[in-house]
């Protein structure tokens, strides 16, 4: 549905987005991840026709951002970071204005505003000026702004930044609710959020795509080796290490701590094959008692850190 080709954006001599290409399917919830300054906001601003790229193209079905920006703006609802709504307007007046600009029919206007107020939970602040709202409410008004006149595509830039945990969960539920019917693209640097809400994740670093896929695919792809954590009672680390040396799949055995006769250590494996049974057999021959024995699953967090770490 949305096709991004070789998108590049320079701010003076600084490259913010560097030849990014990807496609977004209809009905997908796409999370754009990356550290601060990775180029997420710039990409979203180009998608929403707020900025023009230095080179490259974005097309929405038959429309492209250079010639059909007005049509694209009609299709896309956008919530910029921190929802910069006119501070001196009442929430109701603001939504009314947005409804007019987005071309909501006069007859259905009241109904639409009411529906959005219900969905976003802003009924009690409708007659307050925006400047008096808390961050969470402001963000919700921003969401209502973005969803006015039911755009097919929603673009949300860090919709949960600066909110408290309850508000984050509320906003996430709203996003998932909207995502059932529409294409949603949102950027975030909160990984659990992306994991909880997205069908697909794209990780950007320094203006380049470093990973693209569902959470499972990303974990799969980036786990060439894995860790086994073991905790033993009444054991001598060096003896254990020696006995484990026979297993060829083991890359290394690393001691984590020894305390009150309890030895904690990690086994780094070379392959994806499960070698836990072999390890168990080795340990069974000794006098040690197994207290803990599990594989450490790699989280999105570790993948993210590896892909975006400064080298």
């Amino acid at each position: 549905m949305i096709k991004i080709e070789e998108l590049t954006k320079y701010y003076d001599n600084v490259c913010a987005v560097d030849k990014i290409s990807f496609e977004i399917k209809k009905g997908e919830i796409l999370g754009l991840l990356g550290p601060n300054g990775a180029g997420k906001t710039t990409t979203l601003r180009i998608l929403t026709c707020y900025m023009q790229p230095t080179s490259g193209n974005v097309s929405f079905e038959n429309f492209n951002i250079y010639d059909n920006s007005l049509e694209i703006k009609k299709m896309v609802g956008y919530l910029p970071e921190s929802a910069p709504i006119y501070p001196d307007m009442l929430v109701y007046d603001y939504l009314n204005f947005v409804a007019d600009v987005r071309g909501v029919e006069k007859t259905g206007k009241e109904k639409q505003i009411k529906e959005l107020a219900d969905l976003c939970g802003i009924n009690e602040v409708m007659h307050k000026p925006v400047i008096e709202l808390s961050k969470g409410y402001k963000q919700r008004v921003g969401l209502a702004h973005a969803m006015m006149n039911n755009p097919e595509i929603l673009v949300l830039d860090e919709p949960t930044s600066g909110l408290d945990p309850n508000q984050i969960i509320d906003i996430r539920n709203i996003i998932r609710e909207i995502g059932k019917k529409r294409t949603v693209i949102f950027s975030t640097h909160i990984l659990s959020e992306a994991e909880a809400t997205c069908d697909r994740i794209i990780i950007i670093n320094k203006g380049k795509i470093v990973a693209d896929g569902s959470t499972e695919q990303l974990k799969e792809k980036n786990s060439s080796d894995y860790l086994i954590h073991i905790s033993l009672l009444n054991a001598e680390f060096n003896d254990i290490k020696k006995s484990l040396n026979d297993i060829s799949e083991i890359k290394d055995v690393v001691l984590k701590s020894t305390k009150d006769k309890i030895v904690d250590f990690n086994i780094l494996c070379k392959t994806k094959n499960d070698i836990r049974s072999e390890i168990y057999k080795k340990i069974k021959n000794t006098d040690s008692i197994i207290l803990e024995f599990h594989t450490e699953s790699r989280t999105l967090e570790t993948i993210f850190r590896e892909l975006t770490r400064e080298s």
Binding site: Y50, M51, L70, K73, P80, P84, M89, G103
Partner: protein
């Protein structure tokens, strides 16, 4: 084009939901009223010439004060981004904001009609210069509004926008008086470029096409320049 009306209405209302409108209108009325009535009884003539003579000076600092927030504030708070990602064109925004100021200007001038009514009770008022004066005031106000709008699109800082706008309007108002030392023929050219000269022509009650074209072209050029600046910033 419908959206430019929506934007115009929003901007116009926003003047009256904040104290700006009330402060600007009262100060305008106090200044013009003071200077008009301070000398009115001395001259002992039933005319509004005094009122209109001072108008270019008053406008050249009142109008940039009204227009300074139009783009600067939006750029500064970021609401600009929300506005421009809605289905609006550059032209919608520029014209919407321009006509909001234009409407404000008319509201600001309306109470001064009471001066004319008052004077007409005191003596024979010649309506030609009064009508001409108001036409001139509206046209000059429009071109100053376009200048102020342009100044506001240049910067995110409202004070800078105000100073640029005011300086520009002042130069247009005072250019012929500032260059009094130039030889007559050269001075005539500068006089023609000045807003005051054209305004005083119209306020004599002679609505000449040259003066109309002057004000309309200043407005047009400045609005076009604003449009270019906004495009450039994308």
């Amino acid at each position: 084009m419908k959206n430019s009306l929506n934007i115009c209405v929003r901007e116009f209302k926003s003047y009256f939901t904040s104290p700006i409108a009330y402060i600007v209108i009262s100060i305008f009325l106090i200044i013009t009223g003071w200077f008009f009535f301070a000398t009115f009884f001395l001259y002992n003539q039933a005319e509004l010439r005094n009122f209109f003579e001072l108008l270019p000076i008053t406008f050249s600092f009142m109008i940039p004060a009204i227009t300074m927030k139009l783009f600067s504030e939006e750029i500064n708070t970021g609401s600009y981004e929300l506005l421009y990602t809605m289905p609006v064109t550059n032209l919608d925004v520029v014209l919407g904001k321009f006509f909001a100021v234009f409407a404000f200007l008319i509201v600001m001038l309306l109470p001064t009609i009471s001066y004319a009514v008052f004077v007409s009770f005191l003596g024979e008022l010649d309506y030609g210069p009064v009508i001409g004066g108001y036409i001139g005031a509206v046209l000059m106000g429009a071109s100053f509004a376009a200048i102020g709008l342009f100044a506001s699109s240049l910067t995110r800082n409202q004070i800078i926008a105000f100073i640029i706008g005011m300086t520009f309007c002042r130069i247009l108002t005072l250019i012929d008086k500032m260059l009094f030392f130039l030889p007559g023929k050269v001075l005539n050219i500068f006089q023609y470029l000045g807003a005051d000269f054209h305004f005083q022509n119209i306020s004599k009650g002679i609505v000449d096409s040259r003066d109309l074209i002057y004000f309309i072209s200043v407005s047009f050029v400045m609005l076009y320049a604003t449009d270019l600046i906004i495009n450039e910033n994308k």
